[in-house]
Subunit: 461 residues, 2 copies
């Protein structure tokens, strides 16, 4: 008899509500602040986001209904499979049972469409027909291009120039879905023109691209354009929780009552939150689960950055958010996991770390690629550079379980495939990868940047 | 209530046997011939393939058991989803119900692993630890690299030089799975060295790469190497029939008793055969089904090439096979659908055409890309250039159904995604695609090439 290696959910068992951690986070959430240092109300965000998404952003309802039309579109590829990694377990000789949630099966190749579809749909409901956004490695830009294509909306993506030049296929994906993708900084925005004047040869950054995308949205005189962000914000985390809610039901189909360890990689934090937050809820309610967020040592927001108020973008157009941040002016080293090169981390995740619900961990680039190659040659899936961080942590935990002789269950989020990002694998095989660890001066600089802003009203680390 | 857009099969409903059309093909199959023009026995193939696969190649058993260990590996991604294309139907305004079988969800991104896993497993059972093969666009080479990786075998891929240079990511995929990929013609084989001496600047061809891969297998003094082919041969078609066998059960889950039209693109023919042969069986047994094989106008083996005996490779190392062939020395125009640039077509498909069971159709490259973009912007999946031919024919049939007011059901094989092959899309958007139609002289040349070999003992077209 063939062993079950993966399970799906029946359509009737699909989650019908998203889980909102803001309802349960013990320390509560610090409000976003405006330029005057005072909490901003929903109206201040209205030029940037549609009001229905702003309501989700500030909601503290625990469960929020998923509109049927969104479920209908998600059903094109969801539920995603939950796999048991028998081959990897055997290779490692571990008594641990390893599971992975495979978000790479979406048409855009990652978890990003979960929120792209939802955001596009809410914008359309609100009468918006055009979205702007930024993208680094390209997973988010591709996902929003996919979503707007299905919903008949326009989409403009500002792509960090170095990625735009190095990854021409990402631009072509967006083009196939009818979106416009231009390199950032561009001459189309004031923010872009200023950067270009000061640094004509800049390779761009996510922070700059966010500034441009926000400006392009708010400056549309027709009022029919809004901005869409693929991570960090509460409503983005919310939309991604379908991942963890499916996973809970799928683990039960495998006969697991609960996982012992839950793992996701963290840039802004959306794929991690998507898998982890439903388990954070269980942990708040007494379940014994270790929840690990994994970041690159080169961009250690969770493990080394100070916690405080900072902007989400380089040009300081966004409100101040309370989070772990390396400073809005931080430019991360050029690791291949472009999606993890962000100076901040979602406020909800930051708070969960402060509340000891999430254990952060940083891993070097080389160990991540080594893990990714082991995974490719056992489980057969070539993962994205970002995802390789989750794989590496899962292998660390499985090895620890072997050393301790513990039959634990581990589940991690396979957030995306790496078929568009194979250059890092080549460098790994050629021995050309660099491991970066941020010098202490950089952390000191982060602390200085953040000290310019109000302090959150909680005890920080 | 959410509409069902895709269905899977439960593990216990998975097909347990492959279907062998050789048992039922009305006209029978012409035997392969050796250099002396006489039918060859299984022993003549023994240096090239393991005997267990040779037995499958010549079998006329209707149903052949799928070994449990192969099913176990296939279960990592199978069943693949069968989707209902509601969004495409709406865009076309057709009364037709359109379904597509999504083979792009395999880790290698196409249907090719179905036979790669089977071939690697049978070789390993036979004591072989190393496989050689050729690849054009790279789908097959990637699939065999994936399969050998999972089974702990070595793999060497000769990749047509023009693709090797234009698609560096394909080589990196194979490398991630531990295979060696070198450009063909190479200096590693006598066949390669001869071609290079005569044509130092050649961009290579599938026929040349096959010659090299066969030579590399048979010349291994250890005897531990065999050759693996990703299409054309009977046992390859056999392994792919799991596609159509799943599809039949999945159509029933959608409430369809039978499809009216079945469509697949045809290069060597494996993805087409995989979907179509189980329906050809129904057609032989009286079911009213139109079965359409789609090829590029630039490489019209089924629609215009003569039927006769020819070699499968340029250097004439393979036995003579009875098939539609443009001549083993034919070099197809450089269309983007590299997997459809083969001079011949599977003997089983050739015979099915002669028996009026399969209706061939040729479509221009531009129409195919236009169809692929329509598909991407409705169903959301960016298909491979090869697959775009099936999409184009499905749209032709759906439009015809609209004109005739017929509520028919159409199913096509989405054989692979196009994420590694986006350059053709860029050319399409830039208006730089070329439509090739083969001049009559080329057909005359094909007839001349084939006239050098014995004539099959049947009435040819």
């Amino acid at each position: 008899m063939v062993k079950t290696t993966k399970v799906y959910l029946k359509d009737e068992d699909m989650p019908r509500q998203w889980y909102n951690l803001a309802a349960d986070i013990p320390g509560g959430l610090q409000p976003p602040l405006g330029p005057d240092g005072k909490p901003i109300g929903p109206d201040a965000l209205a030029p940037v986001f549609p009001m229905n998404l702003i309501e989700q952003e500030v909601s503290t309802e625990r469960w929020i209904d998923i509109p049927e039309e969104i479920l209908q579109i998600l059903s094109r590829w969801r539920s995603t499979p939950l796999h048991r990694a028998y081959a990897l377990e055997e290779r490692l000789g571990t008594p641990a049972r390893i599971y992975y949630k495979n978000e790479s099966v979406s048409p855009a190749g990652s978890h990003k469409p979960n929120t792209a579809i939802a955001q596009a749909w809410y914008n359309k409901q609100f009468g918006i027909n055009r979205l702007t956004t930024e993208t680094g490695a390209g997973q988010w830009g591709s996902a929003l291009a996919y979503a707007t294509s299905l919903l008949g909306m326009e989409c403009k993506v500002f792509m960090v120039r170095i990625s735009f030049d190095q990854k021409p296929f990402r631009k072509l994906m967006m083009q196939a879905w009818g979106a416009t993708c231009i390199p950032s900084p561009s001459t189309e925005t004031e923010a872009g023109r200023q950067i270009l004047a000061a640094h004509p040869d800049t390779s761009g950054s996510l922070g700059i691209a966010i500034s441009e995308a926000v400006e392009a949205a708010v400056s549309d005189p027709s009022g029919g354009t809004r901005y869409s962000l693929g991570s960090v914000l509460n409503h983005v985390m919310l939309h991604q929780t379908i991942i963890g809610l499916e996973t809970k039901k799928q683990l039960a189909l495998f006969g697991e009552t609960k996982p012992d360890v839950v793992i996701g990689c963290v840039g802004g934090g959306s794929n991690f939150a998507g898998l982890a937050f439903p388990f954070v809820y269980d942990k708040i309610n007494g379940s014994d689960i270790e929840i690990i967020g994994v970041e690159p040592t080169s961009c250690p927001t969770m493990t080394r950055a100070p916690y405080g108020y900072d902007h989400g973008d380089t040009a300081r157009m966004t409100p101040l958010m309370a989070m772990h941040s390396l400073g809005h002016d931080f430019i991360p080293p050029p690791i291949h996991a472009g999606g993890l090169r962000y100076h901040g981390v979602a406020p909800l995740i930051s708070q969960a770390i402060l509340d000891d619900l999430v254990a952060p961990r940083a891993i070097h680039q080389t160990e991540c690629y080594e893990a990714a190659v082991t995974f490719a040659r056992t489980e057969g899936i070539i993962v994205a550079p970002e995802t390789s961080h989750a794989v590496a942590a899962a292998i660390q935990e499985a090895n620890k379980a072997r050393e301790e002789g513990k039959e634990i269950s581990i589940v991690f989020n396979l957030s995306g495939h790496g078929l568009m990002d194979l250059v890092g694998y080549e460098k790994y095989f050629n021995g050309e990868l660099t491991d970066y660890a941020l010098p202490e001066e950089e952390i000191a600089r982060s602390i200085k940047t953040i000290s310019n802003y109000p302090k959150p009203n909680i005890v920080t680390k």
